[in-house]
Amino acid sequence: MKKWIPWIAVLVMAGWVISTLSPGHPSAYRIREFGKLPVLLNGRVQPFDSMARNALLQIRGRQTVPATNGTLSATEWLLEAMTKAEEADGRKVFRVDNGELLALLKLPENQKYYAFNDLTNGLAELDREGKRIGEIEQANRTVFEKQLMMLFNKLALYHRLKNVLQYEGAQSFGQELEDYVKVIPAGVQAEKARSENKPYDKAAFDKLISYLSHYDFMNRLSYAMILPPSEPGQGRDKWSGAGQHLMDVVHGGELHPVMRYYANIATSFERNDPAEFAKSVVEYRVWMEQRGLTAELAKGSREFRYNDLQAFYKALVIYVLALVLACLSWINGAETLRRSSYYLIVLALILHTVGIIFRMVLEGRPPVTNLYSSAVFIGWGAAVLGLILERMFKDGIGCVAASAIGFTTLIIAHHLSLGGDTMEMLRAVLDTNFWLATHVVTVTLGYSATFMAGFLAILYIIRGVLTRTLTTETAQALTRMVYGILCFALLFSFVGTVLGGIWADQSWGRFWGWDPKENGALIIVLWNAAILHARWSGVVRERGLMNMAIFGNIVTSFSWFGVNMLGIGLHSYGFMDAAFFWLMAFIASQLALIGLGCLPLSRWMSFRDAPRPTP
């Protein structure tokens, strides 16, 4: 029986993963189908679903909104905001934590999330403060000011979302569009006459003006381009925003057929008419297929499935479970628990890999393109290394390492995704070529390995100082692991750094530019080399090796994360304030562990009675 338990554990978790994939009760609204429809945003074709999830992550920090009868998916929330703004304004989606900010906006302090309606009183304040703070350089802003700007940006984003399909407050948009098209000739005549000081049709003129001012407003707020090119042969990237198009129509253009579909979708959602809604969604898809825009449709569907899978979130959960089981297996020595942990990590790693490959297919790029994907990849590399170690040593250490690093990096990745689209387009100079692709992968694996060595060293210190479980055999095993992984780390970080230099040489003629990110990679190489040379020469022994490896964690975290906070040089993308605090906390924790490791060996719990191994 015992030997089946690991398999059962895997089956249960796999079952959980699969169960979350099915759509549940089929929504009458075909919301999922709508979610797959493509738009052009941030320079790339993505489904409404991605736009909704990313926006909601930025505003609320979650991908769903709680409602009285369940939860709203991101797309449902988006549809509501786009067509039934009054209802959406009542949903508590805006996250505000800062006390001063709550006071400024006169908001009650006992909640985490606020609705747009709660914030309307403070809009004037926000506007004014936002302008004032906008003139201050980012580095000089106080915490309050940064939080205010974040809320300001969230409101601006929300505002823009509300005007993607139709302008905020529009009713029966489809009908209005038909009216608009009809009144254009008369209105244009009237304007011409008016400008020549002749008698003109005031009614037609006023009507046209009022339409135009709404569409102008839509155009200024333009966020995503929802109308695909009506002649794809002349340029597949010539999408347009709804507002922009409607403004162009007045100069004698045809109303885009897709505009009618969307108008109908908006109106039918507003009126709770699922049949009409579904009909327009399907008709639109057919229209795209007929025009040969199948690639865009496919991209929308594919990315929708990627979002739905939530591979990294699920892998994270399984890693946590595996970590618990592996730690338990140390406590009671049960082989079953260890094997269950091992199998679960394999399952998590499969999900992890599927997620990475899916991203590569969607982006058409190597697995590491920005900080988010590097975090994911570091976790993947560490998990693979951990599994290999587990297979060789079979003592649970590999499992603990793999699952711990796996889930930590995925949490970091999740927090990075709160900043917006993680699949944004990259600048031209980062176009894929062989050197760049190999450089990012190799260097990231080098980071993985250095973190892995550092984690194993932490295990050594904690188990040695605080428990009796650091037997000679375990100590020797850990030492060999750390040493072997450091060799691997040195190889990969050195080769990765040099590949990066070669890529730079090919791209702008300078192999080494002392850019902060380059410097960070160099520091890792130097430190890894220092550890190994110190070990070879006997300057340090086991305990010293472990301490130096933990210091390697500090070096790597600075190089991977810290350089982005310096905000200079060619590698600086994005700022992270909360991240700075966590980085400092992490460094402090590592220093504390090194301090622990420096305690005289006689004080180590594992070495008190037993004959001491060579320190």
Binding site: D127, N153, M247, H251
Partner: protein
């Protein structure tokens, strides 16, 4: 022994290399290159007035005259203009010109923000009404506040002059901030600077004010969605403008269709008459235009000279000589000279014709502070006569 040789053998060339290469850095070099023309033509009609090397795309079209002692500096992307003024004590003041979309926020908010920047308490609306001074900015009336603040030391309090005006879709902020006495001393220069500003044709593209995610031209969050009153949205071109070619928010100043395209001439800030083509000026001229019509040609030139440049008679006689006519006496001159009103000043106009050679020269002599400006229209007689009216209008409209 062998080690020693190996050791030295490696070290010496390395050091030698370092020395040889290191010394090459600060040597004078001589070489020969093919002939280069070091003269250049600088545009007198800037596409981006007052911009420096940090000018971003689509800078507003504005010009001014810098007072003496004001230094141009490299500004940041938000500023259209950035200057520094220093005094003997080593204090300096910073002057900035920043356009913002729409109304740029409400007045009370702006003033209280500025008050905060110099360490003063905010005020109420009623108090604000009494604080405004009137100033002239770019031909428009502007509002100015003069704020003396509280610094750490009473002698070095911060002093701010801030002026704002709205032109078209944009509100312009002109600010001077510096040490109390320096700014007080510079206030007249600042006011003169404001007066010298010219907003020329062309709708300025606007700095987004760094306001996070708000796109350019985003109305303030509280003012969402209110449709504008009767009339096209500000800056909207006529609806039938061109066969779909005009961009929807093109500047009002562009006439897209029609027979006589008016081209903005930013030197004088006025419209050039039809048929006048601007040409690089000849030596001594400040600007030059050529008019061609059916094989005949005429030229208009503008020249500035110090003082009275010899007096009107001497110049008129010079011109008479240029078109092959005899010399005038003072009386002859008095007979043909007519007076012309140009911007509040009396100018002298002469119309000289050489019938035999079909040459005509129409000139206007305009005295200015310490200088004289000469406007000359010379060329084929009939053509020049036809252009005389446009010529006069051009002079009267120029500043």
């Amino acid at each position: 022994m062998i080690d020693r040789i190996k050791y030295r053998g490696v070290l010496t060339p390395l050091l030698g290399l370092c020395f040889a290469l290191g010394c090459q850095r600060s040597e004078v070099g001589t070489y020969v290159v093919p002939k280069e023309d070091a003269t250049r033509t600088l545009a007198s009609a800037p596409a981006a007035g007052g911009a420096d090397m940090n000018a971003g795309a689509g800078q507003p079209v504005v010009r001014w005259t810098l007072p003496a002692g004001w230094f141009e500096r490299q500004g940041d992307p938000m500023r259209v203009g950035s200057f520094a003024v220093t005094n003997a004590a080593g204090n300096s003041a910073d002057v900035s010109v920043i356009p913002l979309a729409g109304t740029g926020g409400n007045d009370l908010g702006n003033v209280n923000r500025w008050r905060g920047q110099v360490g003063l308490e905010p005020i109420t609306d009623q108090e604000l009404a009494g604080l405004w001074e009137k100033a002239e900015l770019g031909g428009l009336s502007a509002r100015l506040v003069d704020l003396v603040g509280k610094g750490e030391k009473p002698e070095s309090s911060p002093h701010m002059l801030a002026a704002m005006t709205t032109s078209g879709n944009t509100t312009w902020f002109f600010k001077m901030v510096g040490e109390k006495d320096l700014v007080a001393e510079q206030k007249p220069a600042f006011l003169a600077f404001l007066k010298s500003v010219q907003f020329t044709s062309g709708e300025p593209a606007v700095a987004t004010g760094g306001a996070g995610a708000l796109p350019a031209g985003h109305p303030p969050l509280e003012g969402a969605g209110a449709p504008t009153a009767a009339g096209l949205p500000a800056g909207h071109p006529p609806l039938d403008a061109g066969a779909g070619a005009a961009k929807a928010l093109a500047p009002m100043g562009e006439a897209v269709s029609g027979s006589a395209p008016a081209v903005g001439n930013a030197t004088t800030g006025v419209t050039l008459p039809v048929g006048w083509a601007q040409q690089p000026p000849k030596p001594m001229q400040s600007s030059r235009y050529v008019i061609k019509d059916g094989g005949h040609e005429a030229e208009v030139s503008v020249t500035e000279l110090d003082g009275d440049a010899g007096g009107p008679l001497a110049n008129v006689n010079r011109w008479r000589g240029q078109i092959g006519l005899g010399q005038f006496s003072q009386d002859d001159f008095a007979k043909i000279a007519t007076s012309l009103e140009v911007g509040g000043t009396k100018a002298t106009l002469v119309d000289l014709v050489n019938e035999a050679q079909h040459k005509r020269l129409v000139a206007v002599i305009l005295p200015r502070e310490g200088k004289t400006v000469f406007y000359k229209l010379v060329g084929e007689a009939a053509l020049a006569q036809g252009q005389k009216e446009a010529f006069v209008k051009f002079i009267q409209a120029a500043k």
